[in-house]
């Protein structure tokens, strides 16, 4: 299926969850903020939130230092 990540189309497996998407992008789950179809998703639901065709995912990633 095809989803949109930060405005760009990406093909993923039909069984993708937010957690598997982050793993495939090599992003540590605790360092990102995820918006799925304009709604903020909480980290404890990343495993259980499945993605569907056409979903709009916004990923804001933070690196350490301050």
């Amino acid at each position: 299926m095809t989803i949109t990540i930060n405005g760009k189309n990406k093909t993923t497996q039909d069984t993708s969850t937010v957690a598997t998407l982050l793993a495939s992008l090599q992003l540590a789950p605790e360092t990102v903020v995820i918006e799925l179809n304009t709604k903020i998703i909480l980290p404890d639901t990343y495993q259980s939130t499945t993605l569907s065709e056409g979903d709009q995912v916004e990923i804001i990633r933070f690196v350490g230092g301050g």
């Binding site: 540590a28 605790e30 360092t31 990102v32 903020v33 918006e35 903020i40 909480l42 804001i60 990633r61 933070f62 690196v63 350490g64 230092g65 301050g66």
Partner: protein, 269 residues
Amino acid sequence: MIRVNEKSIHYQEGTSINDLVNKFKPAADIFIVNGFPASTDTPVHDGDRCVLIKKGSIPTPDEMDSLLLARHTPGVHTKIKNSVVAILGLGGLGSAVAGAMAKIGVGKLLLSDYDVVEPSNLNRQHYFVDQIGMQKTRALQDNLLRMNPSIHLELIDTVLEESILSHFFSDVDVLIECFDSPAMKAATLRSVLREMEHVSYVGSSGMAGYGSNNSIRTTMISPGIYIVGDEKSEARPGMGLMAPRVGIAAHHMANQALRILLGVEQSRQ
């Protein structure tokens, strides 16, 4: 009427700065009229704001206020003075952001950090050697009040986590995220987006090392939500945080907060 050091005075035709100095502050040697430096023979007009200062003497809080008012113009000063800004994390970013906010006269600052000043902080953080071991909130309070005694400070020493952020910061105008930990950075933005609908946000990601100045940028995520940094220079062994580049990011953040407060950048509401 004219204002002399923020006191209303009846205006007399033909008055010069020299007349005001003789009458109100004979020792003064710095003169500001309507925000601009003036000389003793500068004529004064009805409605002018005049500030007379003695160089080298410690101004009272009222005089400090007059100085800022004159320098920033009344409209700008009033907006800044009526603002509340929270700074989360008082390290290289937070201590520099706090200095900028104090110097421009932000009315109230909430300063949050659970840690103490350590020797390893001093390569970039705005503390002094004799403050090692002090709680950062207290040390920064001391330093900021030496910069501007007119500001109000609220110190928060609690170890913060996502679930309690909104309890402390829901009522501020701008929240400036200066944490070191990427997990706390993400948690803060999530909390602002979900639970603090009126709070504008300036966060940070990527300012370690000594990379290009101009790769530090300010990006709008959505109205009232901004992130500063190059988005990739992570603090790690071999790429430490250093005063110059952390300072660039800190002052991007401070200026963005100021722009939000003055209404030239979009705020949340």
